[in-house]
């Protein structure tokens, strides 16, 4: 029995789906997508609904992007930023298929390079494995409307492979609390090792 658990997101017993434009359910794999993993780990709220404008940093080949594009629907829009030309090719093909994705080949560490294209973002999602991932997140927070929500996935190994992940997450939490209010924090075990998703609300 499939039920709608959040706007645009459906679930039966143990699996999560989104609905594409033809109305068919598409399975959302928690192993290939960290947002799906968070949903499996009892994310309280997605804060994402139809017609939203989304900024997605670290889009890669666009697996998660395609599901978010399903959720926001034809009236919504997704800006997908990716730095590597190799995986961006796949993303361009996806954007050509779907009317609500704009692929941007740029470095998320330098938001000024794509600032002219982006405005009024309702929802920010960042999944970048870089040493300064928190800094990148705070830089890009300026695109987001006030009181909107932003999702940040922290990969502890990228920040410092030698420190305890718990210690790193504590540091990140402190850094985030200066500019945002943390709504929820989810450890993505067993789907991803040493990953934590922070759900933030912009002050």
């Amino acid at each position: 029995m499939i039920q709608e658990i959040f706007p645009g997101i459906f679930a039966d017993n143990k699996k999560i789906y989104t609905k594409d434009s033809s109305g068919a359910y598409r399975l959302w794999n928690p192993i290939t997508s960290k947002l799906s993993a968070a949903l499996h780990k009892r994310l309280k709220q997605t804060f994402l609904k139809a017609n939203d404008v989304v900024l997605y940093l670290g889009a890669s080949t666009g697996t998660t992007v395609s599901h978010i594009s399903d959720i926001v629907g034809e009236q919504g829009f997704v800006f997908a930023v990716e730095i590597s030309p190799t995986v961006c090719r796949e993303l361009v093909f996806l954007a050509e298929e779907r009317q609500n994705i704009a692929p941007i080949l740029a470095d998320a560490n330098q938001p000024q390079t794509y600032a002219d294209k982006i405005k009024d973002v309702d929802w920010l999602y960042q999944d970048i494995a870089q040493k300064n991932q928190v800094e990148i997140f705070l830089k890009n927070l300026r695109f987001v409307k006030k009181n909107s929500h932003a999702f940040l996935i922290i990969k502890a190994r990228s920040i410092d492979a030698t420190k305890e992940p718990k210690q790193i997450f504590n540091d990140v939490r402190e850094q985030l609390q200066q500019d945002t209010e943390i709504v929820q924090e989810i450890n993505l075990e067993p789907y991803k090792k040493d990953h934590v998703m922070f759900v933030c609300k912009k002050n």
């Binding site: 009236q75 030309p85 009317q99 704009a102 941007i104 080949l105």
Partner: protein, 237 residues
């Protein structure tokens, strides 16, 4: 829809950027990674061929240690069984199957040689400074690890020295194991020849000269390998 024009524009722009990202670098690295894969693949295939062939003629496989002569012999001529062979009785079509497989391996090896030549000329045109210090395969491996010529030029010598030793490096940082002395450079003839005590030193000298070579070529485009080679000779203990 408000974003329609913007979307079309970004798609065109991104396509253009992806198009421009293809350069000599990417071609070299693609050739180098293909070479690496081909080497491992041919080794596995030859192993398979030997196992197959040993059903029929184990003595011949035992006598011919060299892989190339072994594959050529199987592909070109029908090997005959010895009188007191351990091999089983095979039909004509079984032997032809083995022979065809050997021919495929021959073709793959030929392609490998072609790609090696292609990579060599590419490297000569693009990073002669490094190529003169290391040889082709090592240069290619170093480039794969670095990612691109630009990355290699930006790297400090200490990073180049440890390229390919990431696992040992993190073990050192995390668990306090001994510091690694060399990564991929361990396969360089000079490092291989050096005594155990001097291996680290040699790797360090090589790495520092490679760093200079990469930087000079990338930012200036001039060749200084003669001087660098001389310096390496002088400094190596």
């Amino acid at each position: 829809m408000q974003f329609r024009q913007l979307r079309e524009q970004t798609i065109i722009e991104t396509k253009q950027k992806i198009k421009q990202s293809v350069g000599e670098d990417t071609l070299i690295i693609q050739a180098a990674t293909t070479l690496e894969t081909l080497t491992t693949v041919t080794n596995t295939l030859i192993e398979k061929l030997r196992m197959w062939c040993e059903l029929y003629n184990p003595e011949f496989s035992h006598e011919t240690k060299d892989n190339k002569t072994f594959v050529d012999a199987i592909a070109n001529t029908k090997t005959t069984q010895k009188k007191e062979t351990m091999g089983g009785k095979l039909e004509e079509k079984d032997i032809t199957a083995i022979q065809n497989f050997a021919k495929t391996i021959q073709q793959i090896s030929a392609t490998q040689q072609e790609i090696l030549k292609y990579a060599e000329t590419k490297l000569k045109n693009n990073c002669k400074n490094i190529l003169e210090i290391l040889e082709t395969t090592l240069t290619a491996k170093l480039l794969i690890l670095a990612g691109s010529l630009k990355n290699l030029a930006m790297m400090p010598a200490s990073t180049i020295q440890l390229l390919g030793a990431q696992k040992a490096l993190f073990k050192h940082l995390k668990e306090g194991a001994k510091t690694p002395k060399y990564g991929i450079l361990a396969t360089h003839p000079l490092v291989e020849k050096a005594s155990a005590k001097n291996k680290g030193k040699t790797a360090r000298i090589l790495a520092s000269k490679i760093a200079i070579a990469a930087k000079v070529y990338y930012f200036k485009g001039s060749f200084i390998f003669d001087q660098l080679k001389k310096e390496i000779k002088q400094k190596i203990p």
